[in-house]
């Protein structure tokens, strides 16, 4: 077995938490159940990984199997990576039957024709997700297995989720291979990024609970605004205001859990508006400013701002449009015309 493969397998096993090594190796299926029984999972990870490498040696593992193990790890720990969303466009309306073998063949052929030294691995999951792992090399060097790119493609949708490696120069090639393999003609990066792959899927597949506008002339009386507050000795003076905020929040955010995003970034290229007498910034240039909101769960915290009394309801549409517009990176420019208000760059 190749030294580099052995080392790669060893390092992959070391990344796994000790109690999960066994299940991951079972999912991998490369080592037999009998072989797994011989492993002692109660020793330190260093020793466990050495034993695993030895067993792999017995089975003559090659880089293909090692890459498959890596996909398994990254599928379970997908939230450790940062994912970007790409949308593909078809030229016509032809509904073509998706053939997975054809897809894989075309993808590999396209990539390999441009770059000989790549390791390409596929794995399909039950939710129609196709995971692709690509390790990149150069015409002169073997692929770097430690910095692969991951692609998740749901064949019935035009969306691709990419966790690129640090080597961004390979991205155009990857995108090209994707559109060729999936019979689309164009691909563009959406301004949507997050660690939570499932949340990104929720947003673009519109799987989160959206609120559909229904006309309610008056707030429903006796609504359970705060079900936890069962103590009748506490009187809420601002009940009607609380109910208004709650209703507005429901309208904007819906009543279900929000997709998990970690930040929203607004790049402002607007004019600085100040008292003309102060004469700040003589040059009428846009005032460049970057505003970034970060949170372990941005949308849930935005949803709790008004009920917590930290912001007025309704919130700015720039914040609330994030899931509907499927973006968390915005460029705000001046609107040219009669009304000097800012508008969001599409």
């Amino acid at each position: 077995m190749d030294e580099t493969v052995a080392e790669y397998i060893r390092r992959t096993v070391l990344k796994m938490p000790r109690d999960e090594i066994k299940t991951m190796l079972q999912k991998w299926g490369f080592l037999s159940e009998a072989q797994l029984q011989t492993l002692n999972f109660h020793q330190i990870k260093d020793n466990i990984s050495q034993e695993v490498v030895q067993l792999c040696e017995e089975n003559s593992a090659d880089i293909k199997q090692a890459a498959a193990l890596d996909i398994i790890y990254n599928h379970i720990y997908q939230n450790k990576r940062m994912w970007s969303v790409y949308q593909m466009k078809k030229s016509g309306e032809e509904l073509e039957y998706f053939d997975i073998t054809d897809f894989k063949k075309k993808f590999k052929r396209r990539l390999r024709s441009a770059l000989k030294n790549v390791t390409i691995t596929f794995k399909e999951y039950e939710d129609n997700a196709i995971w692709i792992r690509v390790a990149w090399g150069t015409p002169y060097k073997k692929p770097n297995q430690y910095k692969p790119s991951y692609v998740v493609y749901h064949s019935q949708t035009p969306y691709v989720f990419i966790s690129a490696s640090v080597l961004k120069s390979n991205l155009p090639l990857l995108c090209q291979a994707l559109i060729v393999a999936s019979n689309y003609h164009d691909i563009r990066e959406m301004e949507l990024r997050s660690h939570s792959l499932n949340s990104l899927k929720d947003i673009v597949f519109k799987r989160y609970s959206q609120n559909f506008q229904t006309y309610t002339p008056k707030p429903l009386q006796g609504g359970n605004v705060e079900p936890e507050n069962a103590d009748t000795r506490i009187v809420q003076e601002n009940r009607s205001e609380k109910e208004r905020i709650h209703k507005l929040n429901q309208e904007v955010f819906g009543s279900g859990p929000q997709p998990k995003l970690e930040f929203a970034q607004y790049r402002l290229e607007t004019m600085f508006k100040s008292d003309p007498k102060l004469d700040v910034l003589d040059k009428k240039e846009p005032f460049r400013c970057l505003v970034k909101f970060s949170s372990p769960h941005l949308l849930e915290s935005l949803k709790s701002l008004a009920p917590a009394g930290m912001a007025d309801a309704p919130l700015s549409p720039l914040l609330t449009c994030i899931p509907h517009k499927a973006r968390n990176y915005f460029k705000i420019r001046e609107k040219k015309g009669l009304y000097p208000e800012s508008f969001v760059n599409p």
């Binding site: 506490i234 003076e237 601002n238 009607s240 205001e241 009394g309």
Partner: protein
């Protein structure tokens, strides 16, 4: 009675008992909360400031999340001649102790403790200033 700001909604005037103590809660992590308290103070009748108002500053346990300066809070207490209490709501022990203090103060303000009235708070504060 809990309110997010003053003035209190007038539609509930008839449902409200006599007010003996007003506690203004300031979250030390939120400048907005201090601003809200400052604007609400304008709606309090002057007679309340004879011992029937107190400031409760919460969130003091999280030292690195403070957004409000101590100076601003102390100045607020001095300007309005009212005591300032500090507490951390996330710790049950402190929460309970603070609640007990407030209930004790409320008892005095409501006139339940013979020999002590709300004015005592004012004179107590004056004395510490002279030190």
């Amino acid at each position: 009675h809990l309110a997010t700001s003053l003035p209190l909604p007038s539609e509930r005037d008839h449902l409200r008992p006599r007010i003996d103590l007003v506690v203004f809660m300031i979250d030390i992590k939120s400048k907005y909360s201090l601003k809200n308290v400052e604007t609400s103070l304008a709606y309090v009748d002057a007679s309340f400031f004879l011992g029937k108002v107190c400031f409760l500053v919460t969130g003091v346990g999280r030292v690195n999340a403070c957004s409000i300066e101590m100076n601003a809070i102390c100045k607020l207490g001095e300007t309005y001649c009212s005591p300032v209490l500090f507490c951390e709501l996330e710790l049950e022990g402190i929460r309970v102790a603070t609640a007990q203090r407030l209930v004790r103060m409320l008892g005095i303000c409501a006139g339940h403790i013979p020999g002590v009235s709300a004015l005592s708070f004012v004179s107590l504060m004056r004395m510490s200033d002279d030190d």
